[in-house]
């Protein structure tokens, strides 16, 4: 396999609604930024991988074909990836494989999502209709008719975790929300920069037991893109390529009732293990300088500390209490603001988080820069109670 580097990247602002852009116009903006960053034109791109999650959000089946056309990449090969919330990470994994295999030298990996076109006229809100569009990804025969949402799915796991280990507590979850909203204040693309207190989070309205309003990620519209290149090409065109040194992926039983355990995300543990093994990384807490985890909900970010082996199983709550994962801590998590502060434009999310880590490794993260960052982790999870996980380890040279 060939070594693969990120040679260009771009992202639109993450917003609740881009009323002045269609999904392919958003994709165009991110792709153009990534090509400008790499010093490449559309003619240099050999192939493309698109991460686009929900056809109902886009109001278009096969939306990838329309993005590809709009980017002027017709006649070049492309593939769409759709792995729920993990779509961005999964698209990067396929893009990595395209280049590492030797099949192509330069690959555009682009994620885009428009969700708030879903709209409920009665409630004058996108939320119930967006939730409905998402619920079509739950099992249609047995789970969908129960009226579950993505949030209640993850809540079931958090409550099971709390039953077994006594955490995450409401206070620990609130601290994650405060952290991620605050980190977003330093990220110019973030949708929800906010200086909150733990009390404000705890006093916000209940959405799904045990999550309150500020425990949840955001519905977001946006697009992010990276350009991957083989080592030989990357060294020629980029002054500071960021190398993808570890790729791990796993899939859990999609019917969570069939899993041996529901208090832990087995697919996350396997994906992290595999990525660390490939990157030759043995002590994640020591070896990583920052991590972008899939904080769809505050409680699941805490579970992700354990799933990514930052601590023992059941100890996740301790890391937020002790400040390990805060900006300036031993292993800062979600400096971008994550899904809670920056936003969750589903197909674009994992790519936005990769953009963040790559930016940090290039030393270009401005106010939120981690000093001398050398190695970072990106985790993308998605599907009914974390069906998919993809983990990527990114490194700079020297």
């Amino acid at each position: 396999m060939r070594k693969v580097g990120i040679v260009g990247m771009g992202t639109t602002k993450f917003k609740a609604r881009w009323v002045d852009k269609t999904y392919y116009e958003l994709a165009f903006d991110a792709a153009r930024m990534a090509m400008e960053d790499a010093g490449l034109s559309r003619l240099d791109i050999d192939c493309a991988v698109y991460g686009i999650y929900n056809d109902l959000f886009q109001r278009q089946y096969q939306p990838d074909a329309f993005v590809h056309d709009y980017l002027g990449l017709g006649l070049k090969p492309m593939v769409r990836v759709n792995s729920g919330g993990a779509t961005g990470g999964a698209a990067l994994r396929i893009g990595y494989a395209e280049v590492a295999s030797g099949l192509y030298d330069i690959c555009l990996v682009l994620g885009v999502e428009k969700c708030a076109d879903c709209y409920n006229y009665e409630f004058q809100s996108a939320t119930p209709e967006v939730l409905r569009a998402i619920l079509y990804t739950a099992d249609m025969t047995y789970d969908n008719p129960a009226g579950r949402t993505a949030a209640s799915g993850f809540a079931l796991a958090v409550i099971a975790h709390r039953e077994k280990y006594g955490n995450p507590t409401d206070e620990q979850m609130a601290k994650v929300s405060v952290k991620n909203h605050f980190n977003a204040t330093k990220n110019p693309i973030a949708q929800s920069p906010k200086v909150l207190t733990v009390e404000e989070v705890l006093n916000s309205k209940k959405i799904v037991e045990p999550f309150r309003f500020y425990d949840n990620c955001l519905y977001t519209e946006g697009s992010s893109a990276v350009i991957l290149a083989s080592e030989e090409v990357a060294r020629k065109i980029s002054p500071k390529p960021v190398w993808i040194t570890g790729v791990g992926a796993s899939t859990d039983y999609v019917i969570p009732g069939n899993r041996p355990n529901i208090h832990t995300f087995e697919s996350s543990r396997l994906a992290a293990q595999k990525a660390y093994g490939m990157a030759g990384l043995t002590h994640p807490l020591e070896d990583l300088d920052l991590a972008e985890l899939h904080d769809a909900f505050t409680g699941t970010e805490i579970m992700a500390y354990e799933d990514c082996f930052f601590c023992e199983e059941g100890q996740g709550g301790r890391l937020i209490d002790e400040g390990v994962v805060m900006a300036g801590g031993k292993l800062p998590v979600n400096l971008s603001g994550g899904l809670i502060g920056c936003g969750h434009a589903v197909g674009a999310t994992g790519i936005m988080q990769t953009y963040e880590v790559a930016l940090q490794l290039r030393g270009e993260a401005g106010e939120r820069q981690v000093e001398n960052a050398r190695r970072g982790l990106v985790q993308s999870i998605g599907g009914t109670l974390c069906t998919w996980t993809v983990c990527l380890v990114l490194e700079r040279e020297g």
Binding site: V19, D20, L56, R59, N120, Y121, E122, F123, Q124, T127, P128, E129, L131, R132, L135, D139, T141, Y142, D143, P145, A146, G147, R148, T149, A151, S152, A155, L156, A157, I159, A160, E163, K205, K206, I207, V208, E209, P210, I255, P256, G257, N258, I262, H263
Partner: protein, 181 residues
Amino acid sequence: MNEQEREKWYAFEHQKYGIPIEYLKREFEKELSGQVPMDQPLEIPDKMEVIYKYSYGQQSRFFRELRENKKIYGAKCPQCSKVYCPPRAHCSLCYQPTEWVPLTGTGVIKTFTVQYISTSAFIKKVPFVCAYVQLDGTDFLLMANMEVEDVARIRVGTKVKAVFREERQGTITDFYFEPYE
């Protein structure tokens, strides 16, 4: 658009998408009155809809038993003896065809949540409980919609029993769970 044209537009969209005219008027009055500059983004209603006739395949008996006999059946693997509910025609572990076994309809909550916001189809029912129930005699968990007046009564470990609805359609919502004891 003049007033007559606007009324026609509302009537057309109402008929096409089933959106009440009052909601349409609230959303689009400004747009149709010509107050929005030509270059501003234009929003209009739409809906994606498909009608099906779908088959339960080899799970058909499970849904007929619910509808006709108010009975819940599990699917047992003859090799490893694991019992699935939701049922499946083959054991995913042994690849053997499963056999139908009747269940008592009682079980225990393994984990649960209370929903205070939900999808447009369910939002009028909140707050309601969703739980994973392990039915007695089975090895896996069933996603269950609970009907319970006091959501605070529900805990991990709460014993529940299935209650069948008067009118049944042959869907998983033909029954719901209630705590007992």
